[in-house]
Symmetry: C2
Subunit: 311 residues, 2 copies
């Protein structure tokens, strides 16, 4: 039997993540009733056809009576959404989100949520480059980390709410950990936000060169570059909000990146092969750490043609 953690949950924003929560609950349990809302009517209409749950037309209908509310919108509107639903929240309800930036999300929800509601920001490290209600699927959270960044002064009630939310995400297949929100934002700046910014940027640079080289950039685009274009296909609104909300950590990380890149650039210009060798060899260390940690396998990559060495 699927374990029920909440009687009723509300999902605000029916994109990849919101729709995936609904599919996952249907597949693995965790809640009896799922109510969903999106402020885009087209998203609601599409969701009504394909997303399991009850689609409603107002924010307050969505959260009314909900034991847990999941804000699955872009990070930039979390505070505004919280203001819109605050008065309809049930006392003792859990308010959480799935945003990629946690300090900002926490501030927004805390500022706008009424007393007696347990604000527990969260972030599933899971996604694809697809977006919209039709991008959701049940197994998205399986074996993925789910990071919660709860408040530090925890009452017993709050602690119980954190435990309950943890069980819910575990029911959906996630590995749940707690983390300090500022640390979360620094770590994600390098593991996720900067890579996405770089992917957008390199694809944009290539786009300009495409016309110069008569379409041959796309035609001969090889594995490494195609991976970048896939990353750069992600939802622009979501990522705009991430970069604006995690500005300090992203700029700090980008500064380090640019310093390091200047070293490589200078080595290329001056034909300094020793520096290139040293830096390229060093980069292998972190790959090894990832494989040693069981986070990826060498074997799984073996058959991946045209990603890597001689593209």
């Amino acid at each position: 039997m699927a374990a029920i953690v909440f009687d009723r949950i509300a999902i605000i924003g029916i994109g990849l993540l919101g729709a995936s929560i609904a599919h996952a609950v249907k597949a693995y349990g965790g809640a009896n009733t799922v109510v969903l809302y999106d402020d885009d009517k087209r998203a609601r209409d599409l969701a009504a056809k394909i997303v399991p749950g009850q689609i409603v037309d107002t924010l307050s209908e969505t959260v009314c009576g909900a034991d847990a509310v999941f804000i699955c919108t872009p990070v930039g509107v979390i505070k505004q959404v919280t203001e819109g639903l605050a008065s309809a929240l049930k006392p003792g309800a859990i308010l959480t989100d799935v945003g990629s930036v946690k300090a900002h999300a926490a501030d927004g929800m805390m500022a706008a949520a009424p007393a007696g509601v347990h604000v527990i920001p969260g972030h599933p490290i899971a996604g694809t480059e697809r977006s919209g209600p039709d991008a959701g699927f049940a197994s998205l959270f399986q074996d993925a980390w789910h990071l919660l960044t709860p408040a530090t002064d925890q009452s017993d009630d709050y602690q119980a709410a954190v435990n309950q939310l943890t069980r819910f995400w575990q029911q959906l297949g996630a590995k749940v950990e707690q983390m300090d929100p500022q640390r979360h934002d620094r770590v994600l700046a390098i593991t996720s936000h900067l890579p996405h910014l770089i992917a957008y940027n390199i694809v944009s640079t290539a786009y300009d060169m495409e016309s110069v080289e008569d379409g041959e950039v796309v035609k001969y685009s090889a594995g490494g570059f195609r991976d970048f274009t896939r990353i750069a296909a992600s939802d622009p609104v979501m990522w705009r909000d991430v970069f604006l909300a995690n500005k300090d950590a992203v700029l700090e990380t980008l500064g380090r990146f640019s310093e390091d890149l200047a070293v490589l650039q200078r080595a290329i210009r001056w034909g300094d092969g020793d520096t290139l060798m040293k830096e390229f060899t060093r980069a292998r260390g972190i790959r090894k750490a990832i494989i040693d940690a069981g986070l990826d396998t060498e074997e799984a990559d073996f058959g991946r043609r045209s990603t890597g060495q001689d593209d």
Copy 2:
């Protein structure tokens, strides 16, 4: 029946590509006899156990009587290797390579090859991040582009040699096209060389932050970043040589990349969401062009967890 294009071929350098040619010939034909050499004795010993073909101990034995010689070494030693084997080359033989930089490879081979030998530089747009004799596999070139950058003043004999080499690569499954070497190097600078440099650099930056963040960079590394570490696991020697040999095109492309990145950096610093939206939306255009050209599919990516949107 497997079509035979050459009676005897020689492969210099038994890494991913050299070993893969031998495996592909065994699987799909193209030559009766394959002779291989590597100046690293350990590579020869390993290859003798696992790579189909005759492993010999000297350059001259390798190329003696060969109808086509494939230099599969890092780009930086192509000229030196050509000098070492020049006197043993059969008159009328084809001399080709598989390097990722073509103007430099062409210059090196042309300068050192004797008259009467047909120098036809080539580049299979195929690879994995693995290296060494044990990384080779037969299907590496299937459906991959193979770009030839032949000389422009073509005698009938030379043209016949180009046709013969084209048939050989087609036999191994490749789609063969001809291209100007300088244009090749500009196009590959953006589609392959810059993405690899960026991947090395971002992984290197992360490596430094790993210690600052107590191992959490590796632990929570998500899809986008893990793709970068995979790319950065490629052979450092090969890539050092690529960047040194394609210096001008890489520096030009890197200059454009850095200009574009500065625009995004400034937009983040000043909270200019409109510029971010514009640039991110633009990047989607090239992704669409790749999908429209049938070079990748949306569907295939759908199940790829944790690459993209909300990592």
